[in-house]
């Protein structure tokens, strides 16, 4: 079996797929790309059992066949070539792969393609289409808020709630929460599922390079994303997502509005002086003055900044983790943001200010404070 393919075209596809590969795999075969040639098309797959990514690329070939090729050695080789046609010859019996370039010949051992795990079959699925920009926004605005706690796997993913009116994406690690609603994305069926972080990151990378619609199919166990010539299949996270609506307080009498970039810069600066393990900053709001204060007792570092803001409510003092605030503020894009609070031991809610809100987009970020011991 033989085929000829453009070196840079192949490399681009393989690099996109390589995000699926783990550094250590339970099955050695997962360190390989699966090559399937059929009717002049090369189908390449990579999988870590949870996530599988498949892509197609046209090649010059008469025969059909399949083989598993060692991912690392192939990637390393391709990276060194300038654009040129490469000829792959595969020995069907020994699975040996021989690559011929303008410079010479390279032989590497391949493996039996049948050892590669079977792809999940898209049976009994529901389908919807979303614009790639919407999906890209939804992923980038939520993924930073997901958790890493192995004991609470549901929180390590993004919760997607489909309805006839909108789609809601939620991520939380129990300290911060993002709820992102899109009115321009709809589904015919009501459904909800949790997507793991890794495929979403991969999807984000694919989506940055396309303008086309993304087709999503899902059933009880898997989700299938199809865009351009790539398919991404991921297993859904099994479990009940926490009742996030219940923790979003509705009655928040204290409202602060402030220039987002200015606040973010101040938070980042003051944050440098906070404790390296707890990253705490104290917000003291009196009238229209917001005072930020952080200190690291161990190293006697301390910083204070004063900012002007619009504030409606009682004077208050509240503590937050600097990194949470910085993450949230940098993931919003309005000029001004509004922070709604009720008490120093209750959640603060960050939203774009009314002027900065976009049609069809409803974003709410919630951050839990830290206890200030007086």
């Amino acid at each position: 079996m033989k085929f000829i393919v453009s070196s840079s075209g192949l490399l681009r596809q393989l690099q996109a797929l390589s995000g699926v590969l783990n550094t250590s795999n339970p099955l050695p075969i997962l360190d390989n790309f699966l090559f399937i040639i059929e009717k002049g098309t090369l189908t390449i797959s990579a999988s870590d059992l949870e996530t599988t990514m498949i892509t197609h690329i046209p090649v010059e070939s008469k025969a059909s066949g399949k083989v598993a090729v060692q991912a690392k050695i192939l990637l390393d080789t391709l990276k060194t070539f300038p654009e040129q046609p490469l000829t792959f010859s595969i020995d069907e019996k020994t699975h040996q792969v021989e690559i011929s370039s303008d410079y010479g010949k390279y032989k590497l051992s391949g493996f039996d393609a049948d050892e590669f795990p079977k792809m999940p079959v898209a049976s009994d699925t529901s389908t919807l289409s979303v614009s790639s920009q919407t999906m890209l926004q939804a992923i980038s605005k939520t993924i930073f808020a997901t958790g890493n706690d192995e004991l609470r796997p549901v929180m390590s993913g993004v919760f997607c709630q489909l309805s006839k009116d909108d789609i809601t994406f939620v991520a939380t690690d129990a300290h911060k929460l993002v709820r992102y609603k899109r009115g321009d994305a709809k589904s015919n069926n009501e459904a909800a599922f949790i997507l793991p972080k890794k495929p979403l990151t991969l999807l984000k990378n694919i989506l940055t390079n396309t303008e086309n619609e993304i087709k999503i199919r899902y059933n009880n166990t898997n989700a299938f994303f199809e865009i351009d010539n790539t398919t991404l299949i991921c297993r859904l996270i099994d479990g009940r997502y926490p009742n996030y609506e219940a923790v979003i307080p509705v009655d928040n009498p204290n409202k602060l509005t402030i220039d987002r970039q200015q606040f973010l810069n101040a938070i980042r600066r003051v944050g440098i002086f906070s404790s390296k393990t707890t990253h705490q900053v104290k917000l003291k709001i009196t009238g229209s003055e917001l005072q930020l204060n952080a200190e690291d007792v161990d190293f006697s570092n301390e910083a204070t900044e004063r900012l002007t803001c619009q504030y409606n409510g009682e004077d208050m003092e509240i503590g937050f983790n600097v990194r949470f605030l910085a993450d949230m503020l940098s993931n919003l894009d309005s000029t001004d943001v509004t922070i709604e609070m009720s008490a120093p031991n209750r959640a603060g809610i960050i939203t774009p200010s009314i002027e900065g809100r976009k049609i069809n987009e409803d974003i709410l970020m919630l951050v839990m404070p830290v206890m200030l011991n007086s």
């Binding site: 939380t172 129990a174 300290h175 929460l177 926490p242 923790v247 404790s275 393990t277 707890t278 705490q280 690291d296 007792v297 161990d298 503590g319 983790n321 008490a343 031991n345 209750r346 959640a347 919630l366 839990m368 404070p369 830290v370 206890m371 200030l372 011991n373 007086s374």
Partner: protein, 406 residues
């Protein structure tokens, strides 16, 4: 090994510190038998050398001390004055010594390793001692040797108001004729146990194989054996930011009452949590320690997300205790320890914590600050107010013998 044998460690101890300070404040007490302690039911916190002749010693009930030495003048302690004086001494040592450790209010370890090249360590330590005596007016003694244990024993031997050096290589011979009671770590129980085995002098321990001590007293036995042989590699540790917090209790009588043990653990956890919060700290590692009646000691720890909340830690402590206590044997000691402390407030969790719980802690802490630590408790911890050993009123209504060490 070479490095440790070549060390020069000085142990300085202020002689009957509380009495000496009291005498400075009230010169009439000079030369008279003095006992510091208080109350009818109190115990002796410190006593002058005059009273010691009558058999009075610290931690003895005041009543008994009075019976032994009726002439003694009993005064209540002035803790503020004591710590102020202790700070003065610390200042001098800090200025003069390259590396020091303040191991208690009246004891200091100093590492003079390498100073011989310039001054002669013994001469230098003598000068510092003289300086302390002339500047603070307090008698102080020191012992000098290659490690902390031998230096401490040496100080105890030459007291009061004296100094001595144990030459390199002479550590074993120096310790040999002493009673085993002199070895730090040998408390009353261990002493009795060793005496019942016929061990009276350190020499006997030195002649015993290390394994034998290990079999009798576990890990501790091995440490005692090493100390008896003048081996102690522990370094002089300069003061550093507190990295852990712990409390442990030895029972008057060994117990097997699991419910009571759990309640004591709750009381300990609560107390430490309050202390932690009042210093604006959190922990991320909790450990539980138990010692069975045969001195087998077991500890188990677990990592948790940074927290200062009682309920989270109590749950973990109970889990650890249940895993740890599996031998259905009498327990003589239990303890709780928090490590990996960091400064900061508890990050509230939106699903596990609620605002009411947080407000409750804040309200409880406020009450404790205002009216005292023991005024509000969980019901389970109520009967074990771990007030600890208070030398000035001697009140100690907990079932445990020794006070809280943090």
């Amino acid at each position: 090994m070479n490095e440790s044998t070549n060390r020069t460690v000085v142990h300085m101890d202020l002689d009957c510190f509380f009495v000496s300070v009291s005498r400075l404040l009230n010169p009439k007490l000079e030369g008279k038998p003095v006992i510091v302690g208080g109350g009818e039911r109190g115990v002796v916190a410190a006593c002058s050398y005059e009273t010691r002749k009558f058999g009075v010693h610290s931690a003895m009930p005041i009543k008994m001390a009075k019976r032994l030495c009726p002439e003694a003048i009993i005064i209540r302690g002035d803790y503020d004055a004591y710590s102020k004086k202790s700070d003065e001494v610390t200042e001098i040592i800090k200025e003069k010594m390259p590396l020091y450790e303040r191991s208690s209010i009246d004891e200091f370890y100093m590492d003079l390793t390498g100073m011989d090249r310039f001054f002669g360590s013994y001469k230098y330590a003598t000068e510092v001692r003289k300086k302390i005596i002339s500047e603070t007016g307090l008698p102080i003694s020191f012992g000098m040797s290659a490690n902390k244990t031998v230096s401490k024993v040496a100080t105890d031997e030459v007291k009061p108001n004296n100094q001595m050096q144990v030459d390199f290589g002479e550590e074993k011979n120096f310790l040999a004729p002493l009673s085993i009671k002199k070895i730090p770590m040998v408390g009353e129980k261990t002493y009795h146990l060793l005496r019942s085995m016929g061990v009276e002098l350190v020499k006997t321990v030195q002649d015993m194989p290390m394994e034998l001590m290990g079999n009798v007293l576990g890990e501790n036995g091995i440490t005692i054996w090493k100390k008896s042989n003048g081996i102690d590699n522990s370094p002089v540790e300069a003061y550093s930011e507190q990295k852990s917090m712990s409390t442990e209790e030895t029972f008057e009588q060994d117990t097997i009452d699991v419910q009571m043990l759990k309640n004591i653990l709750i009381a300990m956890t609560e107390k430490l949590c309050f202390r932690m919060r009042s210093e604006n700290k959190m922990t991320s590692c909790v450990a539980v320690k138990i010692r069975y009646s045969n001195f087998d000691t077991h500890t188990m720890q677990c990592r948790i997300p940074y927290t200062g909340c009682d309920h989270t830690i109590i749950a973990r402590v109970k889990e650890l205790f249940e895993k740890l206590y599996n031998r259905r044997m009498l327990i003589r000691l239990i303890g709780v320890k928090y490590t990996h402390l960091v400064g900061g407030g508890h990050q509230i969790n939106m699903f596990e914590d609620n605002a009411e719980m947080i407000s409750l802690y804040q309200a409880m802490d406020k009450m404790r600050f205002r009216f005292g630590e023991d005024k509000i408790h969980r019901a389970a911890a109520l009967s074990f107010s771990l007030r600890g050993f208070n030398p000035f009123n001697g009140l100690n209504n907990s079932p445990v013998k020794r006070g809280i060490k943090t």
